[in-house]
């Protein structure tokens, strides 16, 4: 499969996996570089989305007759929503306490 063909054909598993890898990498990059805790939370959402995208893709291309992967990705979405609620609650509490959500200020574990 040449590079140009990737854009011509109907999307196959490889296309979807490249997309999910990109999503994952962007998420990792965001987690490691964002200073704002909310931005980090958003980046983790990207990681979760890339994972649930993988579930759907493998469901479709490996075992199209079953729906296990789709069920799993629904689970992931539900858990991610719950996680966001908890994470945001923590950040609100943290902001009330320290007037900032800049993670570089959170260095109590230093040394």
């Amino acid at each position: 499969m040449s590079f140009s063909e990737i854009f011509v054909q109907a999307p196959s598993a490889v296309h979807w996996l490249i997309l999910s890898s990109l999503l994952f990498s962007i998420g990792i990059y965001g987690i490691l570089t964002r200073r704002n805790a909310v931005g980090i939370l958003m980046s983790t959402e990207l990681l979760l989305n890339s994972a649930s995208l993988n579930f759907v893709v493998f469901n479709k291309f490996v075992a199209p007759s079953s729906v296990d992967g789709q069920v799993m990705s629904l689970f992931v979405i539900a858990v991610a929503a719950a996680e966001v609620v908890v994470g945001m609650a923590i950040f609100v509490a943290l902001f009330k306490c320290r007037k900032t959500v800049d993670v570089t200020q959170m260095n109590l574990m230093r040394n």
């Binding site: 987690i31 993670v103 260095n107 040394n111």
Partner: protein, 674 residues
Amino acid sequence: MMFQNLGFMLNHTWLIPAIPFFSFLLVGLFIRPRSPKLAGIVATVAVFAAACCAYVLAWEYFHLFPAGTERHALVPWNFEWLRYQEHLAVRAGVLVDPISVLLMVVVTTVSALVHLYSIGYMHGDQGYGRYFTWLNLFTFSMLGLVVAPNILQMYVCWELVGASSFLLIGFYYEKPSAVAASKKAFIVTRFADLGFLLGVIILGYYGYHFFGELSPALAQQMGQYTAGGVVDPFDFAYLTHPEVLSKFVGLGTGFLGVSLLTMAMVLVYMGAAGKSAMFPLHIWLPDAMEGPTPVSALIHAATMVVAGVYLVARTFLVFATSGDALMVVAYIGAFTSLFAAVIGCTQDDIKRVLAFSTLSQLGYMMFALGVATMDHPLGYTASMFHLFTHAFFKALLFLGAGALIHAVHSNEIWDMGGLARKMPITHATVLIATLAIAGIWPLAGFFSKDEILVSALENQHYGIFGLGLLVAGITAFYMFRIYFVSFWGKARSKHAEHAHEAPLVMLIPLMILAVLSVVAGWVPMGEFVSLGGASHGAAEGAHHGINWAVAGPSLFVAAIGISVAWFLYGSGHEERSKSVASSLGGVYTTIKRKFYFDELYLFITHKVVFRFVAAPIAWFDRHVVDGGVNLSGWITRTSSTALSRLQTGQVQTYGAWFVGGSIGALLVLWHLMF
């Protein structure tokens, strides 16, 4: 062999060392912190109980084997103590034979009397309870040494008496001189014990190897001590067995043309010489007088210092088989007896005179053993006899000196004087002891000294005989010197003018010991203690008459010694002694400074050993050994400081490391798999 009808004490001999041991624990741990007074009483009662046990034991033992029969060594109680291999084990226990019974009687008697005396002497002392604790520990250790059936148990107890001696010499630990003396005693005897240990190791090593070569009959016989083909190469019965000894002789020459057996026994003798303060290891004993006077009486006169003599007697057959080792014993003993007697004439500290006198008498015991042979073992009996009598009159002299010191508050004989009238009982008892040590008939020292001199003469050691005779004269001289100076004449100090007789609790032991010093000589020792059982026992037992050809001259030299002492130091003649001392000039000073032996040792240790051995070793230790340790510490500290910077507290940094590491690991895996 087994004896069914052993008496109670023979079956329970272990009680004799056990009573002081448990009393030591009881007094030291529970009674001393609560009531020092009770501690003294309990300790004393315990040792008196042990003494009673020892008397019963002696009665039972000598009734089991009446005079003329062969006296077997019994091991009524033992247990497996150390097991090294399948066929190699050491059994500890108690050994009952004539000399151990004799020593048990002597040790418990003197110890009990010293305990009693100490109740008066140490009254009001800060460390009263501590004192009795250590005294009990010493008594236990000494009894453990005496009853040891193997040389290893003896060695352990040997170190224990050394340790208790150290504790008691340093009893007044606020006094720097006492601390120095205790260290000196410990180091010198410990150094000597190094030789002892090496000797024990040589004997044990070859003893174990011989076991495989022994005849099955003997191996069976050894089963009495060593259950089921297990050898205890340290057992005295094994070491002194003729077959084992002949194997030792068969070893031939080892090192520098000296046979291995001689080498081992000379090393063992080094330990004995250290404990018994033989020349040139004598330097610790005079300083040991820093301890309380009753301690000097018990440990540094009557009991511990005779441990060396006892060790040589215990292993006498091995020494005699070597022959050369026995000559070492004889000549070092003879030299020490003269050397110490000469120094004793010039010392002014009453306890130091007695210490040198002890050295001299120990030399006597040693050379008595040295001149004995297996065919003419009279010296063996004589040595044990002198040990027996000496324990009583020397303990009495020390306790008497303690009473004087108690009254005058000084050790110097020139601070005393005129005490005969103020302290009549002390005077009478000390006079008895002085006459006894001078060898005047019919007191104890006369008989034992006579027997020693006879044994030297009979075995053709004329040089040693003459020397012994000379020492007898010198002994009489220096003993009467201190007697005249301290008891006769005028009081030379305020304290001496107002001296009072000691309390009754101190006088009773003095009186008992005085009685013993009179009667101990009449004990027919040849019938109790002799080498080789019945055959020699009967012959030597018959000897016990007094050989006037020897006793006459020895009485004569003693009389000369006393006369000279009276001439120089008797009432009103003290200026004569000063003129004699000044006319001797440098010789007198040299003797008074103990032939500069302490200075010589100081020179060797400080100038030679410290500078050329200890200092380089210390440098190596400080710079190379410690340097290595410090270096590893420095490396750890530096690297950990550097690494701790990595811990930033920034989770994102950790995450970056984690992701980077994961990618790296993946790449490595990929590289390996494809």
